[in-house]
Amino acid sequence: MIAFAIRRILYAIPILIGVSLFVFILIRLVPGDVVDILIPPEAPRRVAEDLRARFGLDQPVYIQYFTWLQRILMGDFGISAFNNRPVALDLFVSLGNTALIAVPAAIIGFTLGSILGTLAAFFRGSWLDTIFSSIAIAGVSLPHYWVGIVLVAIFSAGYNLLPAQGMAPGGFPTTWQQVTHLILPVATLSLIPMGVISRLVRANVLEILSQEFVPALHGKGLLNRGVLVHIIHNAAPPALALMGLQLGYLLGGSILVEAVFNWPGSGTLMQLAIFRRDIPVLSATILVLAAIFVLLNILVDIMQAYIDPRMRR
């Protein structure tokens, strides 16, 4: 088990290096560099060259990469080109805000998806299955940012029940007033994990139901509830693993939903950075989100191997 965990972690290192190289190449592909943003075009060439030397931009590319990587590994993400604030500070706060909507969304999506998927499998071929499977396929085909707008139209514009935008002041929500701001974004975000997980759970439960141990358990006199425990035991690991990945997708891909609700998370940070051409903020956010996704993948694999020894290969 520990050997598996170590192997899995070691395997992530080349991936992370690849990710950092990819982001570095992306930054280098951007027309112009930091100096072009900082100084007016009519500034004397000597000033530009001095500045380039100070940023290390006169060094060979591979040295620039290593200095960049070294700084990032030490937690120094540089300074925003827009407001001169340390990138790490804003990034940390906005990541927390994204997690605030992504984690509940993953949990809700997982719970609802598991229930829908299991029921659909148990009632295979009935009208219940048709309805649940339609919900699931709609969940993966709906443009979720549009669902967010529709929810705003119903609950904010229509009945004035819930706030349409933004996050309540005061950080981690403790009062009902603060929680109301979470409801619509979380509901929107939970849609896709719900669809994906219920499709997986339905397929898995169907496969388990066709295995021989199910009639055997029935034959031994076990009631439906007892058999269900066995089925859940077998269906849970892949569904849990998928939930871990879903959380990664939600954290890294929440930008569209954040844009609809003006949620001050990492997606909004990226969007602002894109329009401000604030490359330090943009690259740091991309890099950190990708790294989180890779680490979540490792965690999921290790957790899965812990639950199911067959995975430890």
């Binding site: 991936i15 709609a138 085909s141 443009p143 979720h144 997986l200 891909g253």
Partner: protein
Amino acid sequence: MLQYPESPSTVPADITVQNVLKGTGYWRLVWSRLRRQPVSLVATVILLAIVFVAVFAPWLTPHNPYTTSSLNRLLPVGSEGHILGTDENGRDMVSRLMYGARLTLLAGVLPIVVGIVIGGTLGVLAGYSGGWVNTLIMRITDVFYAFPPVLLAIAITGTLGTGMGNMLIALSITFTPPLIRIAETVTTQVRTQDYVEAARISGADTASIMRHHIMNNVMGPILVYATSLISISIILAAGLSFLGLGVSAPLAEWGLMLNGLRQVVWIDPLLAAIPGVMIFITSMSFNLLSDGLRQAMDVRL
């Protein structure tokens, strides 16, 4: 969040059957099976209708999609002369939706076509050669899998700069890795089948093995998978334009139209929801078609 459809790495096509014998009859068989599924048939008809409207938009639109009219802003659905109303600049919604189908379909489908060509080639190459070529291609693919697709697409458009061209590049890069993976998986499995070995022993050269055995087996899973990728690509492409990273105003594109009508939910929610409905219907139809194809071709993804 938006993501590649269910794991392409698991067992794909039924490769134990020799597809070479099926010849042209195979596609007729697929079509006859597809025809018997009412849901897939409806999805196909809807998609054909959307494509038809997109292609012939200039001849079908009742109004010019770019003519603004400050007197006729935000006319409700069902207005005289404007069946689906007018947008925030008084432009006819029906006409804009028709023109929007062009850009949205283009932005959704083109990246997948590029992905099939590049990803399919690289995947077959990796699977057929094995060894270090395989390691090189597949490890680089792994790096792209370290990004959630939305993040990858936004990272590329965001740094390269906004606009339709960069968006198409970004989406093509985003949707190539899953197609590489699926092509590689199938090719690796087919390559070791006995009938390929038999073909080689009886003197078939690499080119004909590629054509008869590898391609025939790879195309099915790729087609099924690519169809479901299109449904995601459309949502993502419209999403990028919605964020202002893709197609720019005043062009008609469903995501961009949705963005323009965002504040209108407070005045006329029905009107504001229309472009999203179009995105949903299109994406859903591709998903249903993919499910139908999967059953008709007996592809297990």
